[in-house]
Symmetry: D2
């Protein structure tokens, strides 16, 4: 059998294009309004995720900082105590990631902070305790599961989808705050 | 003026779909073969990027670990000295990020390691010193620049494109190594 | 009242000297032998701690890498799944830090890995589930507690004591493995 | 030859006690006053170090946050652009660590920020460009170098000394700000 290099890359990209189109055509605008509102009405924003979802969380946190929000990543050095008027955003495809769930429960029960979650699983423990639940499709169920497992194994599709959704949300927040690229650049770290 | 929530999110997603389609239609298969070959012929793989490109770098590094490669992130705790037979992969849209460039120069000049770079800038200093240069379009120049700056400010488009390209490459590597999702799961951290 | 700059620094240093002397005079050599044995008989070593104890954990992990051990930090990018024949070392003054305890319980119950803990609290949950418990005094109880709280607030004394103890242990491991500084330097990252 | 377990640990601890005593007896109070003044007169404080000195830097940054300072770690997610009225604190035994030096030069030349350095090397490049230079002895030269290399290889003695000095400084700052342990606890992260 001849394996053609790039064949799977092309299939992956086609699959992702279709996935993004579906996300675009089924956007829940009311839910997005809720998310924007809870972000804008919180004093500080705390963000977290485990593994690759954690890197998505950090990418979003960095842009929120560029946008002028007071934002922290759970587990980083200068992250203070969360308070009642703060928002904790969790990113978890399964909505059951142990560490993320434990931290959200602590923020909810001890402090009474607001919680928002990006997840693929609307019945998950994280979804149940969150004030705002943004559902993002992970693996598309209309396709053969083994094909997807081969193209986008484990949480790949959810991680990409959250990264894309959150960068799209940044465009929205940029406009809502009346800012432009130059304002972001003014806050962008130069010491790196 | 009435601002419709979600309008920019939809524009962002349309723009990204177009961007991915262009990437798919203009894939440089020979370059991808070179990248796969240098990855597979290296003893250890070191990955780095600054800022949000750094999170993309880490997401890819984690998947390479799941695939069974010996891989390290520059700057993390257990990362050892790089050697001549190792590969350093840099992710930098501009190809001029100071810290990333300095580290690549050090690896090249002191150790003689192999270097690969993902960048938008084929004339950059990083591209010039690399053994394999994978070009990824950042901002699409056919569109009005200010529109893109508003939708995908700073390095957003490059960061998303690299994340997507590298996840597509993972599908290719998974197949080449004759592995499946279950093999990845066996190496996936459970302590998180 | 005239406040003399440096007065508290001097008190802090005197206090720490006394603390180290007490640690030295009450070393539990058998316990240290057990710790060295479990380290040397494990395939991979995983290390973790939260907050400032986490930085102590990482400092020790880096030296174990320099010494040639196969070592990972829980939560870092390339950290794989822990196995039965691996050792998880937890650093926690209280022995009750939620995330650290949860992770140790997971490693114990799901995988059956070996656990070692550095703690001030021999009756803690972490101590109870660990195969080797190294006790390190945190706040010295013979002194007035408010004085110590003023000089070394929160976990300061435990964090310093663990850092010092683990660096002392490195001297012991260096000698046991028949290595010298030059061998460490050969593994020390140059890309930083 | 019989190797006695713990012999090197005890030598290490004796050596460190002597080291701390020397530091205590030769404290440069004026320099400490300068350091406190520049910390208290800066708008934001940025902290950095590479490798194990980086973990010391983060430990100090966390305590400054607990003390109520506006503080960031260079390279972490939410760290913004440094400004002229901000202070950059570098920790580097050699005073020549490439990445740390490059970043300090950038902060100095592009932004004009204030720089303070903790180093063992008063003639180093970092010392030369800093507004405040705090000298901390690394390896004690009166002892046989090979003995020290065996007990405290590479930067161990400098890293421990900086950690200890900075924790002593925290006691001083705590008192100067009229705070107590309870105030620190109020800012201590609970989500971990």
């Amino acid at each position: 059998m001849v394996i053609l290099t790039g064949k799977l890359i092309i299939e992956f990209l086609e699959n992702l294009e279709q996935h993004i189109r579906q996300m675009r055509e089924s956007l829940d605008i009311e839910k997005i309004e809720e998310l924007i509102e809870i972000i804008n009405n919180s004093e500080n924003i705390f963000i977290m995720g485990a593994g690759r979802s954690g890197f998505v969380a950090k990418s979003f946190a960095m842009r929120l900082m560029h946008l002028g929000y007071s934002v922290y990543v759970v587990g980083e050095t200068v992250t203070p105590k969360i308070k009642k008027q703060d928002l904790l955003i969790a990113i978890s495809g399964s909505g059951e990631t142990t560490s993320v769930l434990n931290i959200a429960m602590k923020a909810k029960s001890i402090v009474g902070s607001k919680i928002a979650v990006l997840t693929s699983n609307k019945n998950s423990s994280l979804a149940k305790l969150s004030d705002v639940v943004v559902l993002l499709k992970g693996k598309v169920k209309t396709e053969k599961d083994d094909k997807i497992a081969r193209l986008a194994p484990l949480g790949t599709m959810f991680e990409l989808t959250s990264m894309i959704f959150l960068d799209a949300l940044v465009a929205e927040l940029l406009s809502l705050r009346g800012l432009d690229e130059e304002n972001l650049r003014e806050r962008h770290a130069i010491l790196e």
